[in-house]
Symmetry: D2
Subunit: 359 residues, 4 copies
């Protein structure tokens, strides 16, 4: 295990002006054990933060710098990479060589082989000429409540995004214990528009996507394969899921409605609730609601929490799982910091908000 | 068949100040063949319309009257009942006796027996002492593109609401032709908040439901039974569906994402599109999108149209159907007027908007 | 006056894929007297409309063509120019030469001299080398309820945008009759985000501008000068207004709250209402609300109407005017078609929607 | 001055289930010096908090109790009254008698005499038979950055609401120093819908108020008199303002656009910025933006901050002030806790959030 000393919690955030970077900076600003010592960006290099972000004026008004590996290595012990898919893989090997430990928020190291990654991120694969297959195999898929030990020791953590997080956390206990059939798992997911990033796109304009809900990537969405990879790893069996994301006219929040079939149709909702409650009992970031209480995404906005509700249709033994997260915190930056906490030998939930502001 | 003469297209709207009534009045105001000759309301009786509705100033500014059956019969040939569940059944028999033909927007006559209705509307059943079982059996479940002939001849049409309309229209062709397995049909539905009506409720306040998506009625929602009744009627077999409604932070619009399994896993999305296209080819109110184009609810706002998109996951033979409607028009008042059109011997789509305003 | 024959109502829409173009096409699709015979676009040339716009499928699915003046002249009698500021002035002279009559939705001909235009549109002026000063002087500023006769005879109409329309229509009668002081007129305006156009910009993303209201262009906004030019023209005196636009988290709608001071502080709200009612009495597109009823932008969405409410603070003789429009219809494309109607010798309101769908 | 000891920071929140109460509970939950020792409510008495509020699950899950003065006095040193207007005045005298110190969030003690209160709250005045004129005179109007000393010593603080807070804070320095003309001050204010409270009302339904902006209370709104009272107190002169509130389709946030006239038209925006910056320099809750940066309400959501921007139209010497707050925190509960902090001898900003989550 990596040793941690008190002077070694210096963090570099690379890609500071996107939504991932903004959240990381915001969250670390109040963190008791980490200090952001390097702010990196490509397009924003040489600007100072407060000029760039009147909405988040910081006392520690740093200048954003071009992400030079040597400079980063000099200034920081950890790096949070908040970069577009593909870009991370050109920086990560350089930083690892220089001894940094990395939490990568992109998809670049979420697959165990370059081959798989290239299949699902073919556009990015064509542009780049990646050869870091070894890193793909070594990287840890970082769900802090699930594989804490591996994350603690990791050099490189691939931090799952919002859809896999909301889908996997409630499903993994049932799949692992073989309580649900592997076939026929359906994840119908609904996400706020901040999930599409800060780069302007026509379909994310308020005028276009407000007063509207629409599905996208109906079959073959990239996250299908990512979720399947994890479920197969856990179950040791081939699993195909049906995953359908939808765009919802709200800024933040993600709801997964998951349908699967109990192997034992005699199990009740209370039974199933007991199963998952037992697995996550000591995790402050996971809350299992009483049977019959269904969560709203609003209940977790601006928090690092996932709320889960379990229901069973007794008529046919179907298990229905509702789970909600803030897509930018538990679904992205908050989870990244949970991983960072573990890597630094800290409690995974340290310094992260667990209570929303309502309404 | 009922004969129609040109002087007999006088319509009474009962329950004018709710969302159903407002839409009916708005739509009929531009209809070339109907004239609203009676506006009825309980709470709003004796007020004039324009005073009540500064948002919809009409040249024909009528006074709202208490819904006296004799008066209604004198003034109108048809009645559109836009009343809360339960209330309709106390007025309908009286109006039928007096020779009116009725389109009822409530759930009171959507079940073929009082017994079934009482099971799913137990609260309303307890308050009332309904004995109109015969009417339940005689009433026609009015989906104009499906059972046109029955509607044309009907005295009483029970007009389906938004969830059953968006769920049934795309599913019925596949169920009827036996192309999908009866077991495992899942309808994951998403609705705007106007579906909850105009009566103020805390959970429908903008401050509560905006910036949020949440499921409700996760098992045993009333519309589950209504949809099942229709599918069983069509297929002649027992069918259980899984139906989960969600509340989406927008005013109008409803999206159904339906998952089922093809009996013949060799069928492609194009094959399935051809099947449904053949059934609805001549219906201007139904449009089947090209494979790969997924609809937004925004594309049908303020129209009486349903857009349907078909997709198949070849890996496992799952059929995924996307369908969108305006919950207050095709899902309520527009459909009611389609029924009215048929009952009056007119083309079902007459006088109804088919083009949205975008954005 | 230009003569009109029944074969000469062929319209070209140039710039069809922006919000202005979409509205024009939507509105003309139901117009009884015009036919869209040419769809022009730069970026979208050679695509067909229905492919481009799944949200507005037309029976008449035209191919968009590059805006060649000769071709346009062959195909159309009128042109609606829905182009970015500056671009119109490079096409307009060519079309006029070829005998077309033009309604221009951009700002290119809203000022009576090139000099003024160049002052307020300096960026555009630097890029272009405009020499069409004569056309600026000849162009008619087209507010159909105000200068009907001039529009009817015009070859080139500069159609005012949303802010000037909502600000000027209620203010002009009071300024013209000298009822308010010229000094100290304040227009505090609030607009939906579709006013910013369809071209993706960060600040118009739902994630950025929803759940927020913000002012912009606080002093010296371009529309200040445009409004002042008109008021000075009407009053024959120097007038400076204070104009502050705000961005509101909604798609459509514009509210102007105008403050000014009555010269005669004894006038009541009813008096002032009588004044403006007398001016606009016969205009179906303008409705003066009863004193004490304040309009919501929602009441005019998807209509070509302006609602106006008048209030007076008796304590200090201040006149407060509230006016609401749909920024894309009465504030843009609907008004353009009003102008087109007049130019074709038709009633200005012909074919335009006056009733909203609520809610 | 009241002495403070470490054991005496026990707080009662009365009216816990409205928006004011929810915020107070949320904020105090993380406060380092206060403990909520009594949760009171009328309708919710005997329920426990977590059952009532699945959106805000607290470790300290208290039972809500009927607001009995003796019990409150036994349990708490301070009371935060989050009650509807009128109701507070029936509880306040009882609590004061028993030695509690009170921050009242209602309007009951915001006027210096019962007579004034009865004029503007006539409905409430008719129902009640208030005789606590002395208390009205003694109560301190609590703007913590303005009259810190009085609040510190107060027994009863009347906490201003959102509109007066956003209007007064930026205006008071200019009025006090006589820099602006007393006549012609216009406050055009825009508020999110949570300002209308949690009690369900038709016009606050998402279906009604989303996609809409509308003015209300256009002349004679209650807050006009409250703002005028304060400005007159500060200036020693008669002042009439024009105040127009508008309802904006967002949950939280309030923007005031204030127009007034500089006595010395030679002053620049920078000059005026210097004036207000000097007054509030040491207040972490008030931030004066650089000239030319205009705030969005989004920048202060979930914080206790007010952002102020100053602009001057040199053409006519008009001063335009933009100010934004979170209406439920700086405009209500956060400000209440600032007052509480002062009364307990603490720094006014202690324990209150100053950084938003963006977007």
């Amino acid at each position: 295990m990596y040793l941690r000393n008190n002077n070694a919690n210096r963090v570099a955030i690379i890609g500071a002006s996107g939504y991932g970077g903004i959240q990381c900076l915001r969250l670390l600003n109040e963190h008791p054990q980490f200090e952001v010592t390097f702010l990196g960006g490509y397009k924003t290099a040489s600007k100072n933060w407060n000029e760039l972000a009147p909405f988040l004026q910081l006392n520690d008004n740093q200048i954003i710098q071009a992400p030079d590996p040597d400079l980063i290595a000099e200034k920081a012990d950890f790096a949070l990479l908040c970069l577009p898919n593909g870009l991370s893989s050109s920086l990560t090997p350089e930083l690892l060589k220089r001894g940094l430990r990395i939490v990568d928020l992109s998809a670049d190291y979420r697959y165990r082989s370059l081959e798989q990654w290239s299949e699902f991120y073919s556009l990015e694969a064509q542009k780049l000429n990646r050869t870091d297959n070894t890193l793909c195999a070594e990287a840890i898929y970082g769900i802090p409540e699930w594989n804490q030990q591996e994350i603690t020791n990791a050099k490189l953590v691939a931090c799952p995004g919002c859809f896999p997080t909301a889908g996997l956390l409630p499903l993994m206990p049932f799949v692992k214990q073989g309580l649900v059939e592997n076939e026929g798992i359906i994840i119908d997911a609904k996400s706020g528009t901040s999930g599409g990033g800060r780069n302007p796109k026509e379909h994310l304009l308020l005028a276009e996507c407000s007063e509207a809900i629409s599905p996208y990537g109906v079959i073959g969405h990239r996250h299908t394969s990512e979720i399947e990879q994890q479920l197969e790893f856990i179950s040791g069996q081939k699993i195909q899921i049906q995953f359908t994301p939808h765009l919802v006219p709200m800024v933040r929040g993600l709801l997964s409605t998951t349908y699967c079939r109990l192997r034992d149709p005699g199990l009740t909702a209370e039974d199933c609730r007991t199963v998952i409650e037992a697995v996550y009992r000591d995790k402050s970031t996971i809350e299992i609601l009483p049977v019959g209480i269904y969560p709203s995404t609003k209940w977790v906005r601006y928090t690092n929490k996932i709320l889960i509700s379990i229901q069973v249709d007794k008529r046919n033994g179907r298990l229905i799982i509702l789970s909600v997260i803030d897509n930018l915190i538990k679904g992205q930056s908050g989870q990244a910091i949970q991983n960072l906490n573990l890597m630094a030998g800290l409690n995974h939930e340290l310094g992260l908000p667990l209570l929303t502001y309502y309404p």
